[in-house]
Amino acid sequence: MTTPDPPPARELLRTEGIRKTFPGVVALDGVDFDLRAGEVHVLLGENGAGKSTLIKVLSGAYRADAGRVLRDGKPVRISGAEAAEKLGIATIHQEFNLVPQLSVAENIFLGRQPRRLGIVDRKKMEADAKVLLDRVGVTASPRTPVGELGIAGRQMVEIAKALSLRTRVLIMDEPTAVLTSEEVARLFAIVRKLRSDGVGIVFITHHLEEIPAIGDRVTVLRDGRSVGQVPADTPEDDLVRLMVGRDIAQQYPRERGKADADAGSAPLLRVSGLRKQGVFEDVSFEVRAGEVVGIAGLVGAGRTEVVRAVFGADPYDAGRVEVAGRQLPGGDVWASHTAGLGLVPEDRKGQGLLPEASVADNLALVTMREASRGGLVDRGGLRKEAARIADRLGVRMAGLDQHVRTLSGGNQQKVVIGKWLLAKSRVLILDEPTRGIDVGAKVEIYQLINELTASGHAVLMISSDLPEVLGMSDRILVMSQGRIAGELTAREATQDAVMALAVGTSAPGTSEMEDSPRGH
C-alpha cells in the first residue's frame, strides 16, 4: 500500500481481502481498504462495483465469506448492526432509518432513550438531542416530528444519531445524491468538522467534482476488487479510467447497422410535452422501430417517473403519448399494452414478479385476459405459450412450475421480459434491466435487445450504468431534475458528455446543482 501522505495518522479501520459471493455473483473479490482517524476516504466505483456490498459488510448487514476486518489494528467480527455500533462504526444509508412520526430527539435516541425508573426522561433526552443538533447545525427543535424535516434535515438527524453513538468510523452512502448545492455545502462543512474531531469518514459519491472538495484519499472499486488507491486531487480522467478500466465496446455487443437504416421510419413511440407537477416537465422524445434509446441521469432525475407515466402506470398532468400513431388515454396500463407497450420495471421482485407464483403463471400475467373464453382462462394454451417463450429466452429452470423466487436474477428478468414478448409488445421500456444480475446474464439480455430491435421492436432503456447506456444505445436522452437536459447520438456520447448534462452544468467548478431544491 503506497501512502503519499507524510504523517500517517492512527489507523481506525482496515479490510484485507474481503470476499463475498451471492448465488451466481461474486460481489466482492478481494477488497483492501483502510481508514485513518481524521480523514475522508472516498469510495469510488461504478454501479455494481461492490461499494454497497462493502459497506454492508462493514455495517454488519452481510458476513464476508473470506478476508479480515481490523478495527484499531485488532481483527474483529462484525456480526450485526449491534456489533458495528459497539465498534464505533455507524452507517448513513441512502434510505434513512428514521421513524417519521417520532420526534427528532426520539429518533436520535431510539431504543436507548435516557430513563429514570423505567420512564423515558424526555427533558434529558431533548437536552442531549439539542447539544447534538447544535453540533451538526440543525436549528429545528428536538421535539419536531422527523416527518416535518426536509431530506437534508433528516440526514443531519442521522448524523446526530451517529454522533450520539460515539462513532469513530462514519460511513456515508451517497449523502449528496439527494441534496441541493447549498445543502451539499452545509454537509461538507459538518463533515470537515467531524474530520477535525478525529472521526474517520468513508464517503461514497458519484460526483467526481466533489472528491477534491471533500476527500483526502480515494479507493476505486471495480468488479468487486479494489483496483487503486490515489490522492483526492487525482484528475477526473484518471479516476474514470480506474473506474471503467476496460473496453466498453467489447462488453456491449450492440449491433447498430439496422438502426441507422431505419432512421427515417415513423416513430413507434412519441412522447410530447409530458408534464407532472413537481416531478417532470416538458418531456418530449421519440423512439423508432429498430432503435435503442437510452435514458441516462442521476438517481432522482425523474427517469423512472417519466417512463411510468408514459406506460400508464401513473397519471400525468399534461402532454401526449402516442404508440404507432395512436394516442394513449394515460393512466391505463391495459390500454398501453393493447397499443403495444411493455414495461420491465426497475425493481424486479417488488414490481415485476409474483415471487411465490410459478414461472408459467408469471409469464401469463398479461396475456391471461386475452386467453379467456366465456369467462374461463385457457391455462393449457397459456402454458404452451409460456413453455415456448421460456425456451426461446433460455430461462434456466427446473420446470414451468418452479417458483420464480427461486430463479437467479438474470432468469427472473427473462421471465419479466418474456411476459411482454408474449403480449406482443412492440415497444419495450426497460428500467434498469441488468441491475443486480451477473455478467453472463447481462450479455444474454443485451443480445436479446439486439434481436428485438433487429426484428423491428423499439427499446427505451433507463440505466444508471453509464458504460451500459453508452454501449447499448443508439441515442441517449440525459435527464436532469425532471427535464431532458440533452440528447446525444451514440457517436457524440461519452461518459463526460453524459455526466455534464446529468449534473446540469457543462463548466465544472461552478455550483453544480443550482436549481431550486426538489420537492421534500
Binding site: 415485476g352 409474483l354 382462462v377 420446470g399
Partner: protein
Amino acid sequence: MAIDTQPGHRLDKRPGGGGPPQVVRRILLDNGALSALVVLVVILAIMSGDFLTTTNLLNVGVQAAVTAILAFGVTFAIVSGGIDLSVGSVAAFSGVMLGWFTTTQGMPDFLGVVLAILTGTVCGLLNGVLISYGKLPPFIATLAMLSAARGLAQVVSEGNPVLLPDSLSWIGKTIGEWLPVPVIVMLLMGLVAAVVLARTYSGRAMYAIGGNEEAAHLSGIRVRRQKLVIYTLVGTFAAVAGIVLASRLASAQPNAATGYELDAIAAVVIGGASLAGGVGKASGTLIGALILAVLRNGLNLLDVSAFWQQVVIGVVIALAVLLDTLRRRT
C-alpha cells in the same frame, strides 16, 4: 440453454406411473391439511365408536357447511391479499332479509332467496367500493361492515327471530336418508369457488394481486375493478351461507353466525392459504372447514367441555400454520 424437458416434468401430480397407494401418499405429503384431517379422523375413529357412523359423519358435514361456504368466499379475499371480517354479519343480515321478504312481506320463496342473495352481494359490493375507491384497508372496511350489517339485521328484525315459511325448510334438511342439502350446497359452492380461483380471469387476478399488487398493476390488471369483484363475490357467498343457516334453524336470527368470520378465516388458513396473499385453494379451505367441524364433533363425542374445546381449536390453528410455515421454509 435450451430446455427440452416438457412442462411439469418434476412437479407432475397426475397419476399414471406408480400404483394408487403411491398417488395417495404423494397427495398426503403435498398437502399438510389433508394429512392432518386423515390423522384426526383415524384417531377419533379409534377413540370413539360413534364417530365413524353415517349419521354422525353427515352431521359433521352439516356442521361444516355454513363455515365452509363462508370460508370459500373469504378465500377470495385472502388469496388477493385482503381479508373480510364481515361475512358472519352479512350472512345473518341476508338470512333476516330472507325471512323478511318471505314471511313479513309474503313474497314467493324463490324471489325471497334471490333478494336475500342480492342483499349479501350488495354488502360485499359496498365493501369493495370502500376498499377500491375509498382506499380503506380491507380490515377496516369490512370491520365497519361487520358492525353495520349486524345492526341492519337487528333493525329489520327488531331484534327478534324471523320465522321462515315451512316451504323453505328443505334447504336445511336431509333428502332421503343421506343427502343433507347443506352439504350439497357446500360442495356446489366449493366447486364454484374452485372454478373461479383456478379458471376465471378474476380468479387468476386474485392470485396476481395477492402475490404482488404492483406487479399486477404493471401487467395491465385493473386492480381496483378486480377488488370490487372479489369483495362482491365474498358477499354473495356469505348470503348463501346465511340462507343455509337460517333454513337449518327454520328461523332467521339477527345474531346468528356471530364470530363465524373467525372460523371462516381459520378454515382458510388451516387450508394452506397465506394471509400475505397469493396462495390458497378452495380444496384447502374445504379441508380446513372439515378439520374444524370434525374436531368440534369429536371433542363433543369424547365429552370434552366446550371451554376446553376452544382451547384445543386455538392450538390446532396455531399448529396448522406453524407446520405449514416450517414445511415451506425447507
